[in-house]
Every structure is written in structure tokens, then in C-alpha cells.
């Protein structure tokens, strides 16, 4: 039992509790997903800031808001 919990990819877990490994990678995927969301948000903000800092970016934003 202990080995199955510690090593979800081990023989004991894979044969006794075959769904455990899928559950393990699903939990890992859920835990890692926020990194994607945070990175996407921070990169988006950085792009917005860079665009608003440059004159051409400001012009583009003004044009977009007029439309």
C-alpha cells in the first residue's frame, strides 16, 4: 500500500490500483496549469505595457478605441 502511494509509476501501484497513475498525472496537470495561466497573464500585461509605452503603440490604441 505504502509503495503504491509513494511510487504511482511503480509495479505495485500499476497492477493493484491501475487508475492511480492516471489520477496522479491528472493531479499534476491540475497543479501545473496555474503556471500556464499566470505566465499567459503576465506576458499579456507586459505586451500591453510595451505597446502603451511606445508612440506607435499609443497611436494604435487610440485608433482602436476610436473604431
Amino acid at each position: 500500500m505504502q509503495a503504491a502511494i509513494l511510487w504511482p509509476w511503480g509495479y505495485e501501484a500499476m497492477t493493484r490500483y491501475p487508475w492511480e497513475f492516471l489520477a496522479f498525472i491528472a493531479v499534476m496537470a491540475l497543479l501545473l496549469s496555474p503556471i500556464t495561466w499566470i505566465r499567459a497573464k503576465s506576458l499579456g500585461q507586459r505586451k500591453d505595457n510595451a505597446a502603451s509605452r511606445s508612440k506607435s503603440g499609443q497611436r494604435r490604441q487610440n485608433k482602436a478605441s476610436r473604431q
Binding site: 511510487w7 509509476w9 511503480g10 509495479y11 500499476m14 497492477t15 491501475p18 487508475w19 497513475f21 492516471l22 498525472i25 491528472a26 499534476m28 496537470a29 491540475l30 501545473l32 496549469s33 503556471i35 500556464t36 495561466w37 505566465r39 499567459a40 506576458l43
Partner: protein, 366 residues
């Protein structure tokens, strides 16, 4: 911009699908009808791969991990996309475990497995640092070498007179039951379903219109080679030894004896083992690295490669204590509980959602 030629994609797809399948008997549970299971698996595998390429056609310029966020949105699509690199690292670990058990039992019996596997992974790491262009170019170079090796093996086996075609009879003597058991889900997912991984690099193909053709040709090629080697192993070893042996290919090659001069061709097995595992582990690791690179949007993935190599080594070294444990998991647990949901259920769901959304959009704009 890196581009992959049609030939390079054909070569790496074929080699990826062949992988270590030839070393372990494909469809051994079907006994002397294993070759029928191999043919059937490659036929059904072609349909599955055809669906993957249609998914790529529906999402031009996007990779596998981007398909999920595109269709299911970021809240559901992102965790689903993360499942794939994680399972590819595990698959790379399985390649490492293959080496851990195969190398000491064939060559280098006195060398500790961790030294063999560790140095092998360092070599792979160096290879991965070179990038996808070098990986594909090397694939294009290795492919003819493997083809020549296979041709020589077949010629030598047939000319040494050790074969008995009667071992194949009676064909389907015990019905379709055991053939189907070998085909579904192991036969389809093991070699062919895994190819979904290559969708991470399909966007780099120089001629995207030829994607489906190249993939189907590669699948057909891999299917024919697997079938041929199944037939060879059965007609040389007979059904009982074919089913019992862990590595029927090495036993088959050991039978070659030509004019008492050309003998002990185990070396061919070792060359094939090194080439196939090297390529398969490299591709598993590379695809997981670029998937994570896209998911967390980093520029330099080299530290990820080092991290994944360490994780692969750890997973590979701790997953099984011996060969029977390793193969039991491969044949009984993985196809039903990991590969079936990830390589068939989720892609089919994604395909249906993509299709319905496109049909609805078409109707809206008509």
C-alpha cells in the same frame, strides 16, 4: 524557421512506430496468429492516425497542446494539455527501463545498469540540445541503415533454412478471439496511438498538404515490417517459443547459421536496440520539453531538458524490479488505463467537438 522535409517526417514516424515493438513480440498473446493481429492493428492504427492528421488540418499552425486550449478553453483545455508531456516523460522512462533490463542481459552483463543508462541519457541530452532539425536529419540518416539491417536479417534467416512455414498453420485455428485481444487496445495504442506525440512537430512540415499521406505511408511501412518480423519469428521459433520468449527477435537471430561461418548475429539485435531506444527516448523527451515550453511560454528550454532527463532517469530506474514486472505493466495496465484515455478517448472527443464547432460556424455564416 526550422522546416522538416517529407522524407524526414516519414523516417522518424516509421522509426517511432517501430520503436522497441520488434524486440518484444508484437501481439504474442495471439500465438501463431500474431501477424494477423499486427496487420489488423496497423489498419486500425492508420484510421486513428488519419484522425490525428484531420485534427491538425482543423488547427493549422497549432500543436497538440494548443488544440485543447483552442477547443475546450483555457480552464479545461490547459489541464488536459498538461497530461500529454507528463505521460511522455513516463514513456521515456519506460524506454530507459527497457535499456536497464535489456543491456545487462544481452551485452555488458557486469556493468551496473545505472552507469549504462546514465551515459546513454547524457548522450541523448547532447542530442536534444542540437534541436529538432538535427534530430530529424539524423532520423533521415538512420532510417536507410535500419532498412538495410532488416533486409540482411530477413535474407540470412531465409537462406539458413531454419524456417518452417507450417508453423503458421492452422491460420486462425483458435478463432478471432485471441487476435482481437492482441489488437484492442494494446496493438493499436502501443505503436500507432503513441504517434499523436509527433503532432508537436507537424507544424514544421515544409509541405503541410502531404501530412496525411506521409503519416499513412509511414504507418503502412511500420505495419508491414512488424508483420514480417512476427512471421519470421513464428516460422523460425514456432508458436510455443515465440509466446514464451521475452525477446523473440534475439532468439530468432541466434538461429542464423550460414555455412558455419555467419553465426551469432546478436550484434544486429544490439545495433537495432541502441538505435531504436535512442531515437524513441529522444523523441519522447523532446516532445515533452517543447510541449512544456509552449505551455509555460519560455524561450530557452535547455534547463527543462536537463530536468526532464533527470526525471526520466529516476522514473525509469524505479518503475520495475525485473523484466516480468516491466512487461506486465506494459501489456496489462498501460493500454487500458493510460493509453486508451489519452490516445483514443480524448482525441476522439476533441475531434467531435472540433467538427461540430466547425459545422455550426459554417451554418452560421452560410
Amino acid at each position: 524557421m526550422v522546416k522538416i522535409s517529407a522524407y524526414q517526417l516519414f523516417a522518424i514516424t516509421s522509426m517511432f512506430q517501430l520503436g522497441t515493438t520488434l524486440i518484444f513480440a508484437f501481439g504474442a498473446s495471439a500465438g501463431r496468429d500474431a501477424w494477423i493481429a499486427a496487420l489488423l492493428s496497423s489498419g486500425l492504427g492508420s484510421v486513428l492516425i488519419g484522425m490525428y492528421t484531420l485534427l491538425q488540418k482543423m488547427h493549422p499552425g497549432q500543436t497538440l497542446v494548443e488544440w485543447f486550449t483552442c477547443e475546450f478553453g483555457r480552464w479545461l483545455g490547459t489541464p488536459l494539455a498538461w497530461l500529454y508531456p507528463l505521460v511522455w516523460i513516463y514513456d521515456a522512462g519506460r524506454g530507459v527501463a527497457d535499456l536497464k533490463f535489456l543491456l545487462p542481459s544481452t551485452i555488458l552483463p557486469g556493468t551496473p545498469a545505472w552507469i549504462l543508462v546514465g551515459s546513454f541519457l547524457l548522450l541523448i541530452l547532447y542530442f536534444l540540445f542540437s534541436g529538432i532539425e538535427v534530430i530529424c536529419r539524423l532520423g533521415g540518416m538512420i532510417f536507410p541503415v535500419l532498412a538495410a539491417l532488416f533486409s540482411i536479417e530477413i535474407l540470412l534467416l531465409l537462406s539458413s533454412g531454419m524456417h518452417h512455414f507450417s508453423y503458421l498453420q492452422p491460420v486462425l485455428g483458435e478463432g478471432w478471439g485471441r487476435v482481437w485481444k492482441a489488437v484492442w487496445p494494446l496493438g493499436i495504442t502501443q505503436s500507432f496511438g503513441e504517434s499523436i506525440e509527433l503532432a508537436m512537430i507537424w507544424t514544421l512540415l515544409a509541405s503541410p498538404k502531404r501530412l496525411m499521406g506521409i503519416n499513412l505511408a509511414a504507418t503502412l511501412n511500420a505495419g508491414i515490417v512488424i508483420t514480417l518480423f512476427d512471421v519470421l519469428a513464428i516460422i523460425v521459433l514456432g508458436e510455443k517459443i515465440f509466446v514464451r520468449e521475452y525477446f523473440p527477435l534475439i532468439q530468432t537471430l541466434k538461429q542464423v547459421s550460414l555455412a558455419e561461418f555467419i553465426e551469432n548475429l546478436d550484434v544486429m539485435f544490439v545495433i537495432y536496440l541502441f538505435l531504436s531506444t535512442f531515437f524513441k527516448i529522444s523523441l519522447h523527451m523532446y516532445m515533452s520539453v517543447i510541449a512544456v515550453k509552449q505551455l509555460i511560454r519560455i524561450r530557452n528550454p535547455k534547463w527543462l531538458m536537463v530536468l526532464f532527463a533527470a526525471v526520466t532517469f529516476f522514473v525509469g530506474m524505479t518503475m520495475a524490479k525485473n523484466m516480468p514486472e516491466h512487461t506486465t505493466v506494459a501489456f496489462k495496465t498501460l493500454p487500458n488505463f493510460i493509453w486508451l484515455p489519452l490516445f483514443i478517448v480524448l482525441p476522439v472527443l476533441l475531434f467531435l467537438v472540433s467538427l461540430v464547432r466547425r459545422l455550426l460556424a459554417k451554418r452560421r455564416y452560410a
